[in-house]
Amino acid sequence: MPVAGFLAWLLPGLGHIYTGHRARGIVCLVTVTATFWTGVAIGGVPQTVNPHERQLWFAAQLCTAGNALTAYAITPLVTSDSGSAPRGAESAHDPPPAHWMSADIGVHYTGVAGLLNLLVIFDALARAEPRRGGKRSERHDSDGRT
């Protein structure tokens, strides 16, 4: 059971796939990942995934660890690849300016994606848990197609 939760935390839907609910897992994977990276595209990586200035939002983003850590890891790559100094920034260490509304919307998208993955983690844990007497309900045996 903890393995399903850990896998779901690492990558949205992987816990469901691990427990045999492949279609459900793929839906969660696509939806949560698309929501997260849409937010990153709207707000920009340095403003959206920023553990120094947006600690609580980063905690929410970390609920989908694979996406959040990947975004955090590519932050220095993105800022160094696109030029020697960010456009309009005061110094090389400041993140480039994005419209404040874009940054806020991006943070909301990524934070909500993380919290949605929390729901997915709990659902994966519930589906991985065997029913009393070792018998599973019918919905645990498939994605409801039977």
Binding site: A41, G44, V78, S82, P96, S102, G106, D143, G144
Partner: protein, 76 residues
């Protein structure tokens, strides 16, 4: 292509005016899809249930927003 991708990832996409209201719809749709995926017994019920939930959330939030705006206008 790489420069465009790097530009988007670096500074994002400018969003102004009414676009911010439109951007609420995909977020509500994502919330509805994930919630209904975890709740529905049969996956084939998810699309319609998600759509209904998404419309309910969006209309509910717009109603609350309009109500608060009218209240604000009356009080000012």
């Amino acid at each position: 292509m790489n420069a465009l991708l790097a530009g988007i990832l670096e500074s994002g996409i400018p969003v102004t005016g009414m676009q911010r209201f439109a951007l609420m719809i995909p977020l509500c749709l994502a919330v509805a899809i994930v919630y209904k995926t975890t709740r529905c017994e049969k996956l084939r019920d998810v699309p319609m249930a998600s759509l209904v939930l998404c419309v309910t959330i969006v209309l509910g939030m717009y109603t609350v927003g309009i109500g608060l705006y009218v209240l604000f206008r009356l009080m000012v």
